[in-house]
């Protein structure tokens, strides 16, 4: 092997070490993904939207005309509600948008996941989730636990109970948070919906 070739191999060794160093550097590149005082406001919840419906009580004749497995004293038709969500931070509107239930017919739970960049420090957060449609529900269906002593009284009571349960599991027509607090740097402020309490809560680290 000539001197030139030996020198080439030596340089090759150095180049190999440099290549390994580059490989490691590429594998562990520190990337700045946010500034040091950055924070995030995260809205995240899943909840059933309200059902906007009108109900009417079937007569005995109408009920008898239904197949046995479809006999319900109160028949309700309608749709699931649409909500407007508005987020303001220190008076500045972050988002003003419409959200609705999932699925092609929007009859599934409404899922929300939004993130907004915040600066650390004292911030006023205003969040409002308001049903857009007017409520056309017939209260008659809600309070129709008929105590007439008819043969269908139990069924009717059960139907009313089911409607009340569904209603209690759905979003209220208006949810609001208006609070001022200190956002720590590099933190995520989470706004979520607690189904059991039917309210939005704001969680900070």
């Amino acid at each position: 092997m000539t001197t030139r070739a030996v020198l080439g191999r030596l340089v090759g060794g150095v180049a190999s070490i440099a290549t390994l160093a580059l490989l490691r550097a590429g594998s562990l590149t520190s990337m700045q993904t946010a500034s040091d005082d950055a924070a995030v406001l995260r809205l995240s919840w899943s909840a059933r939207p309200e059902r906007i419906e009108s109900c009417h009580r079937l007569s005995d004749t109408e009920l008898a005309a239904r197949p046995a497995h479809m006999r319900m004293r109160w028949e309700c038709e309608g749709q699931f509600a649409t909500y407007g969500v508005t987020v303001r931070t220190d008076g500045r509107v972050f988002v003003s948008d419409t959200v609705r239930g999932g699925g092609l017919r929007h009859d599934r739970s409404m899922h929300v996941f939004r993130e907004f960049a915040l600066r650390a420090g004292s911030r006023r957060i205003e969040l409002e989730l308001r049903r857009i449609e007017a409520d056309t529900r017939s209260d008659a269906a809600e309070s129709a636990a008929v105590a007439s002593g008819s043969a269908d009284a139990n069924r009717e009571t059960r139907e009313a109970q089911e409607r009340r349960t569904r209603r209690s599991e759905s979003l209220p027509s208006l949810l609001r948070i208006d609070t001022t607090f200190t956002v720590p740097p590099r933190s995520v402020v989470l706004v979520t919906y607690v189904v059991a309490e039917r309210r939005l809560v704001l969680r900070t680290p």
Partner: protein, 523 residues
């Protein structure tokens, strides 16, 4: 797209030349990228199996931290797994670059190219799942970015990102699914590798042993001396301002985060689409040097040598229809890459690409001999692969060589060497490209076998082997080319030979061990 091939090729040749100077052509890693990728995949599988033993989907980060705390094996094996996966991306990217720059992505090679593109996508996806498994800040970042992109598709009504909202623990099912993908994707890649290599005869799956040992050893040394650190566990309720990102797998991350998801998807789909249509847009007409091989039935003896030698399994033997009892070779043009290896394998010169078969080579040589009477007049002939190192041709001529070019050294019919010597050449040196860089894949190997180990179509025993040599012409190694040349010419110097026959003699008949007339008569 074809306009890009030329600069890509120039850049590749410069890189080859630099690597040849540094490592020599035997160990030039850029020539071996495909085989290196396979070796690295083997390393990944081996180290991955070990790491898998300790991984718990119920406590992903804690289990990796446990491994990281083991200074004897766990820490450096984990680092080796990571660095080998990074090196794999580099090897695959270089491999794709070489294939594109050398116009080796179309025709019969289209399947290899397309499957290679899919394999690269699978590799990147597999790396993605691997980093998510660790569940440190980088893993969480990848998971969230991936979920953001996925949420843009109309697949699930509930946003996947809700998993990472921080209001509840990440479900174990997510890590289980991720682990499943991290195991399943490489298994799928193994099946894809089979498709990738399916059109190749005798695929090269391992780099030279020295390169393999040094390469893997270097990665092991790096893993021991500078292991990859483990960042803290991902916290969904904290913003990590700095994340240690693996650029080989997450080069897309800044764009994906900055762009709207639909634009990121469009960019990814466009990139994939462009990569997949490269075989179409770089396609050449199947004429001239890209014409497929054809068989001259009259000369085919059914010896079965060309199907054996064909590096692309493009030739099969079928029954004849002309009444002769032997089989006859048939070339499938859709699988033929016009490498011309078959031209050198056929003793009776009955197969080869148009104008490059053995008889065409003899004809061309006869014209040269006729144009410079009397024959080569004692000059030494250098028959060079035209792809090897064009920059070396002028110095060779300056050193006294009579240079002839050939599409591939494997094209060369041994009769051409004999005819050159009979035509007055003092010697014949065949310069091949570096064997691992041969566009015909096996040209140098078969040439060596034909000249020195009696492989059909062998150089006849009557030819003095002292007057024949094979050299390697590697870009960037002009000194090596000239040293080989001068060694050969010095060896020849004492006894300049006399021409054995007149160039007007029936050289075809002399070189053909079984003249056509007698074959037809016998059958």
């Amino acid at each position: 797209m074809r306009a890009l091939e030329r600069p890509a090729h120039r850049l590749l040749r410069a890189a080859d030349a630099a690597a040849n100077r540094l490592y020599g052509w035997h160990l030039n890693p850029i020539y071996q990228t495909g085989a290196i990728a396979v070796a690295l995949l083997a390393v990944l599988i081996a180290t991955g199996l070990y790491l898998l033993l300790f991984y718990r989907v119920g406590a992903p980060w804690a289990s990796v931290a446990h491994l990281q705390a083991d200074p004897w094996l766990g820490r450096w094996l984990r680092s080796l797994h990571r660095f080998a996966s990074d090196a794999l991306v580099v090897a695959v990217a270089l491999h794709a670059w070489r294939m594109f720059a050398q116009a080796r992505a179309w025709g019969a090679r289209a399947l290899a190219w397309s499957s290679g593109v899919i394999l690269l996508a699978v590799l990147l996806a597999s790396g993605w799942t691997g980093y998510v498994m660790v569940w440190d800040a980088f893993g969480a970042r990848l998971a969230i970015s991936g979920a953001r992109l996925f949420d843009a598709l109309p697949v699930l009504s509930e946003p996947m990102r809700r998993i990472f909202a921080g209001d509840q623990p990440i479900p174990g099912a997510f890590f289980f699914l991720n682990l499943f993908l991290h195991v399943a994707l490489p298994l799928g890649a193994a099946a894809g590798l089979w498709i990738h290599l399916s059109r190749l005869a005798r695929p090269t799956l391992s780099p030279p042993r020295a390169l393999l040992i040094v390469g893997i050893g270097a990665l092991v040394a790096l893993s021991i001396l500078a292991p990859s650190p483990l960042a803290g566990e991902a916290n969904m309720l904290a913003v990590a301002p700095h994340v240690a990102v693996d650029l080989f797998y997450a080069f897309w991350l800044p764009w994906a985060d900055a762009l709207p998801p639909w634009l990121a998807w469009t960019g990814a789909a466009t990139t994939l689409g462009v990569a997949l249509i490269i075989p179409v847009v770089t396609r050449r007409p199947r004429t001239g040097k890209d014409a497929p091989s054809v068989v001259d039935d009259r000369h085919c003896t059914g010896c079965n040598q060309c199907p054996v030698d064909c590096p692309w399994e493009a030739i099969t033997m079928i029954p004849r229809t002309d009444g002769r009892t032997t089989l006859v070779a048939r070339v499938d043009p859709s699988r033929c890459v016009s490498c011309g290896i078959c031209a050198g394998s056929c003793a009776p010169m009955g197969v080869g690409p148009a104008h490059r078969a053995g008889r065409d080579q003899l004809e061309a040589l006869r014209l040269v001999l006729g144009a410079s009477p009397p024959g080569f007049s004692g000059r030494v002939v250098a028959i060079c692969c035209e792809h090897a190192a064009p920059a070396h041709l002028a110095p060779l001529r300056a050193a006294g060589a009579h240079v002839e070019l050939l599409g591939c050294a494997g094209n060369l019919h041994s009769s051409v060497i004999e005819l050159s010597l009979r035509g007055g050449a003092a010697g014949v040196m065949v310069f091949t490209c570096p064997p691992r860089d041969c566009r015909g894949r096996e040209g140098p190997k078969w040439l060596h076998e034909r000249l020195y180990n009696d492989r059909e179509a062998e150089l006849q025993a009557r030819v003095d082997r002292q007057r024949v040599a094979i050299g390697v012409m590697a870009a960037g190694d002009l000194a090596g080319t000239l040293v080989a040349w001068h060694d050969f010419t010095r060896r020849l110097a004492p006894a300049p030979p006399e021409p054995l026959i007149s160039v007007d003699e029936d050289l075809d008949a002399l070189c053909d061990p079984q003249p056509l007339a007698s074959r037809v008569e016998r059958q």
